[in-house]
């Protein structure tokens, strides 16, 4: 049963906790689900807004304590996305 996946044929980042930076004020941290030509779909998403807690502190706290979920499902227009990286590659460990 190890390695069993109920949802084969998924995107490479499917199920991975990612940091999605956008051209707007928000950065999203959540599990990447899928994408199509126009949209990226995330699950269990924490939202960092520019001007609140510092970006680095937010990501470091998220790395340490986990994602504090603000939205269960979130759809982000791909045109607004400037980067998608794994949380573990962005936040300090």
């Amino acid at each position: 049963m190890s390695g069993h996946v109920f949802h084969p044929g998924h995107h490479d980042l499917h199920g991975i906790t990612v940091v999605v930076e956008t051209s707007g004020d928000n950065t999203y941290v959540g599990r990447f689900d899928r994408e199509d030509d126009e949209l990226a779909y995330l699950k269990d998403v924490g939202v960092h807004e520019a001007g609140s807690q510092s970006w680095g502190e937010y990501l470091d706290r998220t790395m340490l304590y986990g994602v504090k979920v603000d939205q269960r499902d979130l759809v982000v227009p791909r045109a607004e996305i400037t980067s998608v990286r794994k949380l573990t590659e962005v936040a300090g460990r």
């Binding site: 049963m1 190890s2 069993h4 996946v5 998924h10 199920g15 991975i16 304590y65 986990g66 573990t88």
Partner: protein
């Protein structure tokens, strides 16, 4: 909730490696209300993206020379009340994720391996994180 018949092999896998399944709130409280020593809790999950690596990584880590006094599992998405109660013993700062693993010493979380520290990583790397935590926190108290 998934079909229990599909999930049973994932439960069996943890029992076979020596984990005690906690399926009710009463069972969780009986273990953790006044827990002394070290304990690891696997928050099990059906998600193959991460749990499919988490379980064998834990199995490998438990073959290490230094291990927690007790090892338990709760099953997120299946035994919801027991899982929620177990998480209450982790402290309110820790956000829920599954699969995840919490190492506790005398009732306090000393290491938490969140889902994001498991997904996409190799079995060996996860096991190495666990054995490092075991070495640090589960050795003989002086």
């Amino acid at each position: 909730m998934y079909d229990p018949r599909l999930v049973q092999p994932m439960r069996d896998e943890t029992v076979a490696m020596g984990l005690e399944e906690l399926t009710t709130v009463a069972e969780v409280d009986a273990v953790f209300a006044n827990h002394n020593g070290t304990a690891l809790v696997l928050v099990n999950s059906v998600c193959g993206c991460a749990a499919g690596t988490a379980r064998p990584a834990l199995k490998q880590a438990l073959s290490h020379g230094v291990t927690p006094d007790n090892v338990y599992s709760v099953f997120a998405g299946m035994d919801k009340d027991a899982t929620q109660r177990a998480r209450s013993y982790f402290g309110e700062d820790f956000q829920p994720s599954s699969p995840s693993m919490a190492l506790l010493r005398d009732g306090e979380v000393v290491t938490m391996l969140h889902r994001h520290m498991i997904e996409g990583r190799s079995l060996e790397d996860i096991a190495a994180d666990l054995t490092a935590a075991f070495d640090k926190h589960c050795g003989t108290t002086v």
